[in-house]
Symmetry: C2
Subunit: 149 residues, 2 copies
């Protein structure tokens, strides 16, 4: 790896270190205010809204959390009827998780709630910047998924 690449990576890290607390500020607070879900549980819900069926281990792997935490989050989501545990017929050790209809609806609704909160701030942005934020957040997400999974 050459000198330039090294510098680029350093800058990326610096950006990510900067972005993370801003997201905490923007998201965590609103999540607490607008929903009765932990941020962590909401992240699991968001993951499940992307993948139709995931095992406990897969969820833990994708979100980088140890299995006991996944169990705890899923427990909460199950109590709220937002997800279902479905045991795998082929391997009875495996517990698959699926978003319930209520879970799907709730997640969409929560996104709308969060959006409406953020929209107040996003309104300061012109159409052009909005599209830029859209594109760049897509890209960051796509690449982070690629290198962390």
């Amino acid at each position: 790896m050459n000198e330039n690449t090294t510098k680029t990576v350093d800058k990326i890290i610096e950006n990510l270190i900067y972005i993370h607390p801003l997201l905490s500020k923007g998201l965590t607070r609103t999540i607490r205010a607008k929903t009765n879900l932990n941020p962590g549980s909401l992240y699991v819900l968001g993951l499940l809204s992307r993948y139709p069926l995931l095992s406990m281990s897969e969820i833990g792997c994708k979100l980088g959390m140890p299995k006991p935490h996944v169990t705890a989050h899923i427990d909460k989501l199950v109590v709220e009827n937002l997800v279902e545990r479905i045991s795998d017929p082929n391997d009875r050790r495996i517990v698959n998780i699926k978003l319930s209809l209520k879970g799907k609806e709730n997640f969409d609704m929560i996104i709308k709630e969060l959006s409406s909160e953020m929209r107040l701030r996003i309104n300061k942005l012109d159409e052009n910047k909005l599209v830029q934020l859209f594109d760049s957040s897509n890209k960051v997400r796509e690449i982070l998924v690629e290198i962390t999974f």
Copy 2:
């Protein structure tokens, strides 16, 4: 705001909800492993590496944390000699915070540590994707700063 813009904002929120835990995974863990700083304190340090002088309130405002938390973080950083409290001669209520030389050096070093960890994963990316991640993380950061401060 028209229908399309609404959808774009929703998608952005979804992206951010997705990105946040990935960053936690990628950063928080490494921060814990590689440094003896809380993630929160490191974020404060990172902020101060951008701005030469910030008051306690400004730090709290920029990172979206209540003043008592800022006090706690700064206390830790002061103990480690990474930042200095400088009382403002014009308004003696104000306490300004400045990165010490050691703080500057340490932050650079920590960035290198985190980079080396992440580099292992980033190595999977080709030069092209690396630049894309760089550009898009820059953009997300720039726009988040604009709408959250």
